[in-house]
Amino acid sequence: MAAEVMLMNEIEAKAASMGIDLIIDFNSIQLPRGEDCGIVSDDEDVYHDDHLEFDSGFGNVIVVDNLPVVPREKFEKLEGVIRKIYSQIGVIKEDGLWMPVDPETKKTLGYCFIEYNTPQEAELAKEKTNGYKLDRAHIFAVNMFDDFDKYMRVPDEWAPPEIKPYTPGENLQKWLTDEKARDQFVIRAGTDTEVLWNDARQSKTELVYKRTYWTESFVQWSPLGTYLATVHRQGAAVWGGANTFNRLMRYAHPQVKLIDFSPGEKFLVTYSSHEPSNPRDANRVVINIFDVRTGKVMRDFKGSADEFTIGGAGGVAGVSWPVFRWGGGKEDKYFAKLGKNMISVYETETFSLIDKKSLKVENVVDFSWSPTDLILALFVPELGGGNQPARVSLVQIPSKVELRQKNLFSVSDCKMYWQSNGEYLAVKADRYTKTKKSTYTGFELFRIKERDIPIEVLELDNKNDKIIAFAWEPKGHRFAVIHGDNPRPDISFYSMKSSHNLGRVSKLTTLKGKQANALFWSPGGRFIVLAGLKGFNGQLEFFNVDELETMATAEHFMATDIEWDPTGRYVATAVTSVHEMENGFNIWSFHGKLLYRILKDHFFQFLWRPRPPPFLSAEKEEEILKYLKKYSKKYDAEDQDVSMLLSEQDREKRRMLKEEWEKWISEWRRASEEEKLERQKLRDGEASDEEEEYEAKEVEVEEILDFSEEVLFEE
């Protein structure tokens, strides 16, 4: 529909005829009071966002305090120094630097105001220069101008906070008490997100909760399975409950792209990356750390993307996520970030650096926490063409004492792999050959829990084999390696504790010529899925590492994801929407039997709900193992009951279907009988409904082949 165009004189004429004076005095118009003009916004989230910057007009101004108090002669010099420092961070507005002077003493008052063109520059300046030491007596204290307003508004009288009535929360761990000991998983397909029970006994799923548009991008479980996190334009949210999923908390972070939970679920780290005002600069990164239960921001980090991309290859958002890695297991006491020539380790009492400074390590490119202890492993590559060899160091936190280090010669690159109990660390080192033309790989194996942390070097039987994959057995002493240059590589299994050689690593076996490029150990160890993803189009081999034999080989054509359930009983394989056809997932038993499959178009994610570690003490676990037969009798009986019930239900269903069908048949027979005469007429009197019957007759034909007469006796 074309917009109606009105001529000005038509408008004036209409106005005149209605008695309206078109000349408006804008100054006389009184707007309703209040920021929102009395209109309630239906986008309430925006107003609850603490990070919104209201345009007070002074958002680009910072106040620098603790400046030297100088007499008139030194004004210019001081100003010059300040200007030089602050021009590096951003462009100071014209006449944007003002150092007030005491009218009586004619000296500077010891502080100045600096105005930039954008609030981002001002914030960056505050971040960078707060705490800057001009000299021993003068350490800059920098604040945003607007902050003064905020702090001055704090009332002088302390009013005790209102006590809200106690509403008991739901049991967020209720799913662990499922009678049938089932596990849950979340799937995302199309616009729906669903949480389902895996009911393997009945070979089907059971819905827990489903919601369309539950998340705006992806979902993620917290590490102990208590919460499901969703990601939206304005921030993240977590959901949980006893029998369903309620929203428990929201975390405001506009344009959040990635999230990460601390291992004990106490904190949530969120990340966003923003285009800079100057296109030649790097993106601006904002990272917030929230307390999960209260939603309070414990600390934020703002800076240029350059500061967050040291070392590892930039990922989807330009950084290797997570930027902050948590150490020391579920205590959530420490987290660390890689920086230029340093590792910044923070503790969560005050959310500041331990000892107020970062750990200086020249040229460090990678680090990795032990999953259980407060030990950092870090890697420094070779320097100066071989003059300074590469090294791996183990550093204890928070003491920063180096527990062990090893120099690695001729190493071009390395990757660190911790075993799940923190007992072993494997460092895969790619070394140059003497001619520097090719590399070969070896492993440095650290035995962390033994005295003096002994290190062993392991080379494959064929040193030159390329390493395709490496994985420690969870909670075990073995590891698997996929290696080789053939289209079908080999897979070798080693043990750190073999029967005859307690202190040395030994090879258990090598499987030759496998269609595999990825390793998936069961979370309890002992079993492994050797998978051929991507080029191998979804080959699966279920292997028993105790017996060193294959339990089953199978295939999930074009599988993209494989995940064991947290108990190690089931394996889920999925084809996500990377492929167009046959999206969906399969559930297998741990020994490779396909239990059921579900097809879902536009399939994006499949994630098992993690379980927290068991609450039982070691003694109780031993007791249960001892009396397992007694306990399992009870469950065997239950299983029997269920399967009998199932067949009963099945039989009933089938009986009903057959009955219904019989009704149809008899109806049709009746109608057909009624029409029989008519049909005969149509066929010109032929009685039979059958198509022309043919008769097969057996006919005996006698054919005289030959006639001959033979005289026998001549009389």
């Binding site: 054509f557 074009m558 492929h579 167009e580 056809m581 046959e582 097809l599 089938r654 279907l657 057959k658 069908w661 149809w664 049709w668 109608a671 057909s672 029409e675 008519e678 049909r679 149509l682 066929r683 010109d684 409904d689 198509e691 022309e692």
Partner: protein, 262 residues
């Protein structure tokens, strides 16, 4: 004994089965898609494709006992449904014609007046092109197969949906066993998925379903291209399948087939 064939050369021909001689040729303005003799063989229903300005149409021709008396005249021409009509067959007693095609709607027409008597319910009906249709031996119910990866069983007289069989692939051909309560579905793949589906030889299956319980019993592999046609031997002991790969496969059932119990 007569055979009627329809072809993309825009003709429909009558043949003598014993001698192979051509008895008569009907000419049309567009490719002929489907043919069916009525009970008593005195009438035939023919569908033609939409072509240039012509819409798709259903033609009823009288078939003379003596081929020399055969005329080109149509008893009835029905125009109306959108898109290609893939199949049209006679209802019980030749009073109705059942048609199904690209627009996924099954229609029942009066064979004398050409009036639309019934249309299949949109909610429960097929969602994509119906590719195939086959009647039961007594004509009381019929099976339709569609690109929406399902086949449906209907009552011919009331057009009520009785059963639905779901597979993973678009269905090109359907057949009903004259002996046991089995239906067979043969299919292919979406053209867009040609490069991403399993291309290993022999992966295309003719899937057998229990007609009453709607559950899959098994499949017969062998074709390495989509299956386009299925037919049971009238004695129910064998069936044939024709595929895009250019092969026609004849399958004879072994004795165990007749003992299948779910």
């Amino acid at each position: 004994m007569r055979l009627i064939t329809g072809s993309a050369d825009q003709t429909v021909k009558l043949w003598n089965v014993q001698t192979g001689a051509q008895l008569y040729t009907f000419n049309f303005g567009s490719p002929a898609r489907s043919v069916d003799f009525s009970v008593g063989d005195k009438l035939a229903v023919i569908t033609t494709d939409p072509f240039m300005e012509l819409t798709s149409a259903i033609h009823v021709k009288r078939i003379a006992r003596d081929p020399t008396e055969q005329t080109e005249e149509s008893e009835l021409v029905i125009k109306g449904p959108q898109g290609r009509i893939n199949r049209a067959v006679w209802g019980p007693l030749n009073r109705t014609i059942v048609s199904a095609g690209e627009d996924a709607v099954i229609r029942i027409w009066d064979s004398e007046t050409g009036k639309l008597l019934r249309e299949a319910d949109k909610e429960s009906g097929h969602k994509k092109t119906i590719t195939s249709l086959t009647k039961s031996a007594d004509g009381s119910h019929f099976l339709t197969g569609s690109l929406d990866k399902s086949a449906k069983l209907w009552d011919t007289r009331s057009l009520t949906l009785i059963k639905t069989y779901v597979t993973e692939r678009p269905v090109n051909a359907v057949a009903m066993s004259p002996l046991l309560d089995h239906v067979v579905l043969g299919g292919g793949q979406d053209a867009s998925a040609v490069t991403t589906t399993d291309h290993r030889a022999g992966k295309f299956e003719a899937k057998f379903f229990d007609k009453i319980l709607q559950e899959e019993i098994g499949g017969v592999k062998g074709h390495f291209g989509p299956i386009n046609a299925l037919a049971f031997n009238p004695d129910g002991k064998s069936f044939s399948s024709g595929g895009e790969d250019g092969y026609v496969r004849l399958h004879h059932f072994d004795p165990d087939y007749f003992n299948i119990k779910i």
